[in-house]
């Protein structure tokens, strides 16, 4: 957020971070610290553990020091599984209590309604009753007002007979959600858990076989990160994390304050909006049939990249919106956008002859086919850029291996682009994004001094503490409490101390019974400000 937090005080030891961005085509890695980027790696994404091991080995041999303090990973695995409809079905148990009907919270393949109620003050006003048998092994449990008291959700989950494959509870899903949003998000977390935990195990194995003993973090879709435990509880947070990584990295590498980040990968091109020196975010991100109330970067992931196959159509030739493998120029079997660039003579690390042959196999002269494919790419990315631009025109920051080739061409082809910045390390922008992220967690505090309780909702198990009964807090005290809670929640999710906190809302009023003030109710929300921890605008020393 340009809040100056990247200036690290002398009392802090240099922190060495590995950033890993697992995309559709490659796994990219960087090793960085406050002084610069020490090494980079790019390996084909074959199998999670093997690819990450390979990245770590490459980084080890590129850098003098390899005493890693932290590994930060961005993955599109959950998103891919959601898009390809590979996530398991879920039994969604809701505890709606009195009020609107439960149908508004039916997000499961199967939905059960349990009796029981928590009221707006967090009191259990009706006992839990649930005797249905879930059909699925993946389960979500959400109660109305469970952000005020997690008891009924915990009680229900504890009574599941067998050991289900995955259980997600509403109170663990995050702060500031409504009952229907919490139910949707909890179902999304439950369904993402099996895929994510398999991935998380593979990452842990790769890291330990590389001999590292460093905590692992995962990038959230809003550009902040979570420790692996917090992310394992709420893996739907990975929706948009691929776009978040590249946007964050491109901002850190260019210092772009406002404009559009374009990261051209092998399989996809991520286009994101940058505002106020940080990726812009929007609420309620979803993917496939996963719906969440989480924030994510404002971005479009276009299904076209360097390895996108070119195919003949009735009208000529077009990008097929799929990747079948490497470019023919680089030893692959099918004609791709990268082959088109070879044919046009603007990019040639590989065999121009193979590229020409591949395009020719489509049944025409290679040059016009190449021009058609490149023009389509520029036009479609241009539409993506224009859709996200807010003021009609802006600069773009471009990442990806093809950035030096395609960045200037986009600036030329798209009227609303004022200039294209292609930073050093553009080819590993997403991995850099992982390395510069900060832990930030939405945190809500509810205090009821008549009942003598304080409920803190963040990511992971909700905390209910006691507070002095009848106590009246001043506004200043409320702000201190919620700021402290946000700081603590961030630390619990693996964050560091002394980060700036944003207080989003505070609200309090008295509880009166029989004509006397008997307590106070306070609601407040805050979070550690999402931010960029390190900047590399001038590149690495």
């Amino acid at each position: 957020m340009g809040d100056g937090s990247h200036k690290v005080g002398a009392r802090y030891r240099t922190c060495v971070i590995v950033g890993i961005d697992t995309g559709g085509t490659n796994v990219d890695g960087v090793l960085l610290d406050e002084t610069g980027i020490c090494g980079t790696a790019k390996v084909p994404n074959t199998e999670t553990r093997a690819s990450i091991e390979e990245v770590l080995e490459a980084l080890r041999s590129a850098c003098d020091r390899f005493d890693v303090d932290r590994v930060v990973v961005a993955t599109t695995l959950v998103v891919n599984a959601a898009v390809q409809d590979r996530l398991p079905p879920c039994t969604n148990v809701v505890i709606p209590g009195p009020g609107l009907g439960p149908e508004r919270s039916f997000y499961g393949a199967e939905n059960h309604v349990a009796a029981g109620a928590v009221d707006h003050r967090g009191r259990v006003t009706e006992p839990l009753e649930y005797d249905a048998v879930p059909s699925y092994d993946v389960r979500a449990v959400t109660a109305k007002f469970s952000d005020r008291n997690p008891e009924l959700e915990r009680e229900l989950a504890a009574a599941f007979d067998a050991d289900p494959q995955a259980v997600a509870l509403g109170n663990e899903s995050g702060a500031g959600l409504t009952f229907p949003e919490r139910a949707a998000t909890t179902v999304a977390n439950a369904r993402s858990k099996p895929v994510f935990s398999a991935y998380e195990r593979a990452v842990e194995q790769a890291i330990s076989s590389a001999g590292l003993d460093a905590p692992v973090y995962y990038l959230k879709g809003d550009g902040a990160m979570l420790g692996s435990e917090a992310m394992s509880t709420t893996p739907a947070h990975t929706i948009r994390s691929g776009s978040a990584a590249s946007a964050l990295g491109l901002v850190a590498l260019t210092g772009l304050a406002a404009g559009i980040a374009v990261d051209i990968g092998g399989t996809t091109t991520d286009v994101s909006r940058i505002e106020g020196g940080f990726p812009a975010t929007e609420p309620d991100v979803s993917e496939g049939d996963l719906e969440t109330a989480y924030e994510g970067v404002t971005a479009t992931s276009l299904p076209i990249g360097g390895d996108t196959r070119i195919e003949p159509t009735d009208e000529g030739y077009a990008l097929a919106d799929e990747r079948m493998g490497d470019a023919a120029a680089l030893g692959g079997d099918v004609p791709t956008l990268t082959d088109a660039l070879h044919v046009l003579g603007i990019f040639q690390p590989g065999s121009v002859e193979d590229a020409r042959a591949a395009l020719q196999s489509l049944g025409g002269d290679p040059e016009p086919i190449a021009e058609t494919a490149l023009a389509e790419f520029e036009r479609r990315v241009g539409v993506g850029i224009e859709t996200l631009q807010t003021d009609g025109s802006s600069p773009i920051a471009v990442g990806g291996t093809l950035a030096p080739i395609l960045g200037p061409r986009l600036a030329e082809a798209v009227d609303s682009v004022t200039r294209a910045e292609i930073p050093g390390y553009a080819d590993v922008a997403g991995a850099v994004g992982c390395g510069v992220a900060r832990v930030s967690v939405e945190t809500a505090v509810h205090i009821d001094t008549q009942r003598g309780i304080k409920t803190v909702t963040a990511v992971g198990s909700e905390r209910v503490d006691s507070v002095e009964r009848g106590r009246q807090f001043t506004d200043t005290e409320v702000r201190e409490i919620v700021a402290g809670a946000a700081q603590e929640a961030a630390m619990a999710a693996g964050g560091e101390e002394h980060k700036p906190v944003q207080i989003q809302a505070t609200d309090g009023f008295s509880v009166v019974e029989r004509g006397s003030v008997v307590g106070q109710i306070i609601n407040a929300r805050a979070r550690v400000a999402p931010g960029i921890e390190r900047w590399y605008e001038e590149g690495s020393p």
């Binding site: 609107l100 707006h120 109305k144 009952f179 229907p180 009023f509």
Partner: protein, 355 residues
């Protein structure tokens, strides 16, 4: 189907005393419930910003002397209109914004911006007279808004159903001689509750004779008896009056948990009452209906559920699950109201056919 929801943080600013029953948290728990239910995120719910009513709009209803008295009392930061109706620093501005909320709701329904509207403002208005106020009321929000609507649109006849547990003495007096606003009040019998007025024989005067209908109900009156009033009095009069707009002065203090009244209506009862109002509006007024929160002091057990009942009905949601938590004991008495209805029929017999 869009419902306008008029609410503003500034409605929390006006305070009587910290322990007064008419407190800001009356609105806060309801907002809590609406937020948690996801109602505020429904695209069918359109939040409308209220604007303070102008001097000219106020002058259609209130005397200059009274307005000046309120304004200067509020400017000094303290004073009171009666033992329990306090004036503080924010009272004047908040009262103008509350009246502006009702006005915004009426206008938005009338010009088709929304289908219907719920106004969740405070302070209330139905105990405010042209030249005085009491009963936690300062400006007569409803009267100021309706007078403005009548002056600026082609709305002629307005049916007010004031179902607050307390008789709306201010509203009755303002429209007492006016046939263009039919004021029907169902309330707890004035012999048992503030302000004491609202007897059956107060039927209006002059041109307004027959355009004031009072139904004083005995303590503990339940849903069932209220529905009897709806069928035997409210619906036939509404049909014969044929209003252009239906306005509900939605006092939620008929709820059985209310600490300062003694009636027996449940949250489901409120669903039924609001359905009746919506029904009449559908049949007589092209669906134009505005409900505006009046009283209601059952802050935890009543308001979140009764307000939800009214709002959900306006939105045509499924309402069968709207009820109080089981920790609140619903009423068991069911006093007979047939003699009251008989006397209402007798008093209104010259004006309406109520067989």
């Amino acid at each position: 189907m869009t419902m306008g929801l008029i609410y503003h943080e500034a409605y929390l600013r006006h305070e009587h005393t910290p322990t007064h029953p008419e407190r800001r948290e009356r609105l806060q728990y309801t907002m809590d419930q609406l937020r948690e239910e996801g109602v505020l995120d429904d695209p069918a719910v359109r939040r409308l910003e209220p604007v303070e009513v102008t001097d000219e709009q106020i002058a259609r209803v209130h005397t200059d002397d009274y307005v000046e008295r309120l304004r200067s009392m509020s400017a000094t930061g303290s004073g009171r209109l009666s033992a329990d109706t306090h004036v503080s620093e924010h009272t004047w501005a908040t009262a103008k914004l509350a009246a502006g909320g009702v006005l915004r709701g009426l206008e938005a329904v009338e010009d088709g911006t929304v289908k219907n509207a719920f106004v969740m403002s405070r302070p209330g208005g139905h105990h405010a007279f042209a030249d005085d106020g009491h009963g936690f009321c300062y400006l007569n929000n409803t009267a100021v808004a309706i007078r403005h609507l009548q002056a600026t649109t082609d709305v002629e006849r307005v049916l007010i159903w004031d179902w607050d547990a307390h008789h709306g003495d201010g509203t009755q007096s303002i429209f007492y001689e006016d046939p263009s606003v039919l004021v029907m009040s169902t309330h707890q019998d004035g012999r048992t509750l503030f302000p004491g007025t609202g007897a059956v024989d107060e039927v209006g005067e002059g041109a307004g004779a027959g355009y004031n209908v009072n139904v004083p109900l005995p303590p503990k009156t339940t849903d069932e008896a209220y529905m009897q009033v709806v069928e035997e009095i409210f619906e036939p009069i509404a049909e014969q009056y044929d209003p252009d707009l239906v306005f509900v002065e939605a006092g939620q203090d008929n709820h059985f948990t209310d600490p300062i009244t003694d009636l027996g209506v449940t949250a489901q009862g409120y669903v039924a009452l609001m359905k009746a109002a919506v029904d009449v509006a559908e049949r007589m007024a092209e669906g134009d209906v505005v409900a505006s929160l009046a009283g209601g002091y059952g802050i935890e057990g009543g308001l979140p559920y009764t307000n939800l009942a009214v709002i959900a009905t306006l939105l045509d949601y499924e309402t069968s699950n709207i009820r109080e938590p089981a920790i609140y004991e619903p009423p068991t008495e069911n006093p007979d109201v047939s003699s009251v209805l008989e006397s209402v029929r007798a008093a209104q017999e010259p004006y309406w056919n109520l067989l």
